[in-house]
Symmetry: C3
Subunit: 390 residues, 3 copies
C-alpha cells in the first residue's frame, strides 16, 4: 500500500467513523431531545440544574434579549392583509333642493364596499350608501379615487352594486359559505372614514340563523333572502356595514348588513354564496330577471311543529300573523294565481325539498321570471301538486 | 512514559474521543432533529411508528398532564367539541285558556340546557324555559328528542332542573370554579333554535363580581347566590341563557344567567361549583331543605369600609337602604327571631369568617333547614354571639 | 476463545461503542440544539447559511408550506401580568352637606388608575373619580393602601393625575402609540371593585378615529385632543374607564375614556403618546402652561372636501354649524385677535402641515402659553400668513 493510498484509506476511515458518530449520535440527540429531556424537565430536582432548566423554559425562545416569544400573532393584519386590499371606501354625495328656500342642500355619507371583479365591480350593503340622486366616489387601498356608478340594488339580498372604470384591480376571493360551521374565527373589515382607512373587528361566526329573513318580520317573504350568519362581535357594527367578513384563510364568507327591528339595530352577514348568486345575476340576466312568487310563509322548525301540532317538521307554511289570506298571498301574484292558500305547507319546489337549508325563498331564487315549475304542498293532510309560473 | 502519565494520556485520549463524539454527534443530533425528523413525520407510514409519532405530535408539549398545547385553530370547534355534545335545546310549550274568548292560546319558547348526569338530568337557567303549566321537549346533539319533566327550580341559584328518560348520555364535565382567575379564555355554547343547533361566542372570563347577588338589588339577600362570573362578550347573550361557558380544556366553568336591572339586561355566569352544589341538593335532600335566614345585607369591601368609616373591612352588614329594620330582617324569620338587628356586622357563621369569597348567603347555603349554628357579630363595637336555627 | 464468543464479544463491543456514541452524541445533540444553535442563529453572518437559517425560522414548523403550529394560551394573564401590577384601584369619597336637612351625605366611587412613575404619580380618566371636594384612596396590587392627592386634571386630554407618597413602585411601561396600526390585539385592564382586583377584556385595537375630539361635538376644539383609538370590545366598558389598554408585549398603548354623546356612552382610548405628553407637562411646566387658541374647526377629510367642493383635502376649516362667526372663534381669544375668520382653512402651524395625523389641536398642543408662531391659511383661495400669540 502506498503512502498516498494509506492516507486516503485513513481519511476514509476517519470519515466513516465521523459519519457513524454523526448518524448514531444524531439519532441519540433526537432521542434525548424528544424523550429524555421532557422527563428530566418534569423532575423537580433535576430541573433546577441551570442548563436543563433553561432548555425547559420555552422551546421557541431563540434570543432572549431580542425576541419575545409569543404563541399568537399580536395583530390580525396577516390574516386580513390580502382581503384588505379589496376593501374600498364609498362616499355618496347627494344634493337636494329645499322646496321652500330653493337652496341646495348637500348630504354625504361614507360606507364600506368590496371589489368583487378585477374590472371594477364593487358590492356593498344598501344602507352603506345614499340610494337616490347621489354621486359616488370610491377610494381604493392604493389611494386611487374613482367616480362610480350605481348599477343595481338587489331587493332579494339588499346588496348594492357599483362600477368604477378601472382594470386589474385586486378583487376579494370568495369562500364557500355552505361549508361554514358555527365557531369559525372571522375578521370583519370596515372602511368608512371618508377616505381609505381600514378598521377591523374579530371574533366568531357564532351561528347560522336559518330563519332570519331580510324582511325582518315574523313571517318570511318569498322575495327576500332567508338564512344569514351571525357573529359574536360588539353590538354596534355600523362602521362595517357593506364590508366583508373573512375567515383565517382570507376568503370572504359574507357581507355585513343591518336591519332595524323594533327600533333596534340587528346586524348579520349575507352568506358569500348569496353574494355570488346576486353578483352572477346582475352580470348576466340582470336583477329584473328574478322569479316572483308573492307569498309570505314560516319556515317550519321542530319547535314550531311541536307547538303547533304539525305533521311536518320541515316545509314552508303559508301564513299571515293576522290570519288574513290577503296578507299571506299578494293579490295578483303567481302564488295567488296558482291557487296557493293560507295554511298550505309547501314541501317541494321543482322537485327539491323545502327545509332549513333550502328555504322557500332560496328555492324560488333559483328561477327566472317566466320560469314554470311544480310545487307540492300539504293542504289539511292531503298532498296537492300545483303548477306555478313565476 | 510513567504509569501516571500513561493514565493521564489515556484519560485525555478517552476525553478527546468523548468530546469528538459529543461534538460530531451533537451536530448530527441537530441535523436529524431539524431536518430529517420533519420529513419522516410527514411520511405516512413512518409516522405510525410509536417513538417518531410521539415526537411528531407537538414539539412544544413538555408535560402532557399539565400543559395543553393547541394550535391557533381557525375555529373554536375543537375546544368546544366534547362539551357541545352535552348541550341541549329545551323547547317549552304552554297552553293557556283565554278567560274571555275561551280559546286556547299556545306559547312556545326555546332555550339552552346542559346534560349534567348520564341518566338524564339537565340544568338550565330559569328564564330559558316557561316555568308554569308547560310541557318540555329536549333535543340532544344526536338528533334524539325526548319529553322532559321539570324537577325543580332552585331559588338560590335561579337554576332549573329537568329530567328526561334516557341513559348513557354525554354529560358535561364540571370544572372547579374556585380555581378560576380573571383573564381565562372561555367559550359560551348556546342552543336555542328550536331544534338541535349549537351557537358559540368566545372571549374572556373578565371578572369575578364578588358582590353581585341574584336578587339584583343594592342589598344582598341571605337566600340568593352572591358572587358570579362576568365575561367580556357582546352585551346581548340572550341566546346563550342556560348554556355553559367552558374553559379551553372543555370543562364547564359556569351557566349563563340574566337579570333585568333598571330595565337593562345584565348577563353573568353562575359558577360551576354553585351549579354542582345546587345539583347535589336536588339529587339528595331536595331543594326545600335549604336553610333560611331571612336577612338583607351588604358585603363589606374596603371601599365601603372607608366611605362609611367602619372598623371592619370584611363581614356582612345587616342593612336596608330605607333604613327600616323591618326591610332588613324579614318578620318571623330565623334572623329576626335570633335577635339580629339592622347595623349588625356579621363576622363569622359557624366558625367560618364572612368575607368576599365566603359571603353570608354562601355560608348560610351550606346548611339545611333546621340546622343550628352560632353567628358572631359586631354591634356598635361590641362582639356578640347569637345562636340561630335556620 | 471460540469463534462464536469472539463474535459475541465483538458484537457487544460494537454495541457498546454505538451505545456510547448514542448517549454522548445524544447529549451533545441536546446541547447543540438548545445552547449552540440559538447563538449561531443570532449571528448575522452564520445565520445566512441555509441549513442554520432554516432551523432558526421556527422550531415548531413541521411542514412549511402547509402548517404553522403556534400555541395559544388559555388565559391572557401572561400577556397582562407585568402591566397588571401597575394598575390600581382609586376610591373617591366625597362628603356634602345637604342644604336643607344640614345632614352630611357621603358619596363614594371606585375607579381604575395606572401608576406612571416609580415615585407615585397615577393617571386616570376624569370620570373615574369624583373631581370635587373628595378624598382619594389608592389600592395597589400588593394590597397596600395609600391616601392620594389630586394634582391636576388636563382639560386637553381629560386625564386626571394623582400622587401617593410612595417610592420604588411598579410603573407601567409606555408603548409608542404612533406606531400602532388597526388590527393590533390588545387587552384592557380595569380595577374598580373598591379594593385591589383586576378585570380583563381582550380584542382588537379596531380603528384610529382621527377626527374624534374629546369635546364630543361635530366641530373640534383647538383646546381638546382630536384623534383617539377605538376597540372592538363590548359596548359597555364602564368598569375599565381610567385603565390601560396594553399590547401583547405588555406596553400601554392608551387609557380608556368615555364621553356621553346624544345620551349614548362612547368609549375610546387616549393614545399613549398623548398620555405621555400630558404627564410631561404636569411634571414640568404645569397644566396651566398649555397654549390657547380658541377656535372651532373641522379636520378636512377627502369625503368632506368632495362633498363641500373644497380645493384642499387636508387642513382645519374654521367652522360653526350655526354659521355664526362668534361660535367658531371665541371672543377675545388669540384666534380672534390674530384675525382668523370662519371659513379659513388653516394649512400649516409654525411650519408644520395640518393633516389627519397632525390636527390643529395637536399642533397647538405643542406650544406653551405666550408662545408666538405663524399660521398659514387659505381664505377664499388666497394664501394668508398670520402671526398668533397663544
Amino acid at each position: 500500500m502506498s503512502e498516498k493510498s494509506k492516507k486516503i484509506s485513513s481519511t476514509l476511515k476517519i470519515a466513516s467513523v465521523l459519519l457513524l458518530i454523526f448518524t448514531v449520535g444524531g439519532i441519540g440527540g433526537v432521542y434525548f431531545d424528544q424523550q429524555v429531556l421532557p422527563i428530566i424537565r418534569t423532575n423537580k430536582f433535576l430541573s433546577r440544574i441551570g442548563f436543563l432548566a433553561r432548555t425547559a423554559e420555552n422551546v421557541t425562545v431563540i434570543n432572549k434579549t431580542e425576541q419575545i416569544t409569543i404563541k399568537e400573532d399580536d395583530s390580525i393584519n396577516e390574516v386580513a392583509s390580502q382581503a384588505s386590499n379589496a376593501v374600498a371606501n364609498i362616499v355618496s354625495v347627494s344634493k337636494s333642493k329645499d322646496s321652500i328656500s330653493k337652496s341646495i342642500k348637500t348630504t354625504d355619507q361614507s360606507g364600506t364596499g368590496v371589489v368583487v371583479t378585477n374590472d371594477g365591480v364593487l358590492v356593498t350593503y344598501r344602507s352603506a350608501i345614499i340610494e337616490k340622486d347621489a354621486t359616488y366616489n370610491v377610494f381604493l387601498f392604493n389611494g386611487n379615487n374613482y367616480e362610480a356608478k350605481l348599477i343595481g340594488i338587489d331587493e332579494f339580498t339588499n346588496l348594492a352594486f357599483l362600477k368604477i372604470d378601472a382594470s386589474n384591480l385586486t378583487a376579494i376571493s370568495f369562500g364557500d359559505s355552505s361549508e361554514v360551521r358555527p365557531g369559525k374565527k372571522i375578521v370583519a373589515i370596515g372602511n368608512s372614514f371618508g377616505e381609505y382607512q381600514n378598521r377591523y373587528a374579530a371574533g366568531l361566526l357564532s351561528n347560522i340563523n336559518k330563519t332570519f329573513n331580510l324582511a325582518g318580520k315574523t313571517v318570511a317573504s318569498s322575495e327576500k333572502l332567508e338564512g344569514v350568519f351571525e357573529n359574536d362581535f360588539n353590538n354596534n357594527q355600523k362602521e362595517y356595514i357593506g364590508g366583508p367578513v373573512i375567515g383565517y384563510s382570507g376568503n370572504m364568507l359574507g357581507i355585513i348588513g343591518m336591519i332595524v327591528i323594533d327600533s333596534k339595530e340587528k346586524y348579520f352577514q349575507i352568506p358569500s354564496n348569496a353574494v355570488q348568486a346576486s353578483l352572477d345575476r346582475i352580470l348576466s340576466s340582470g336583477l329584473s330577471s328574478r322569479a316572483y312568487l308573492g307569498a309570505y310563509y314560516v319556515s317550519i322548525t321542530k319547535e314550531y311543529a311541536i307547538a303547533n301540532k304539525l305533521k311536518h317538521d320541515r316545509g314552508a307554511l303559508i301564513y299571515s300573523p293576522s290570519g288574513k289570506q290577503g296578507l299571506a298571498l299578494i293579490a295578483g301574484s303567481p302564488a295567488e294565481i296558482s291557487g296557493l292558500r293560507m295554511g298550505d305547507i309547501i314541501t317541494t319546489v321543482g322537485g327539491r325539498s323545502v327545509n332549513l337549508d333550502n328555504s322557500l325563498s332560496h328555492l324560488v331564487g333559483q328561477y327566472k321570471k317566466g320560469d314554470s315549475t311544480e310545487i307540492i304542498l300539504d293542504r289539511s293532510g292531503e298532498e296537492i301538486k300545483i303548477q306555478v309560473t313565476f
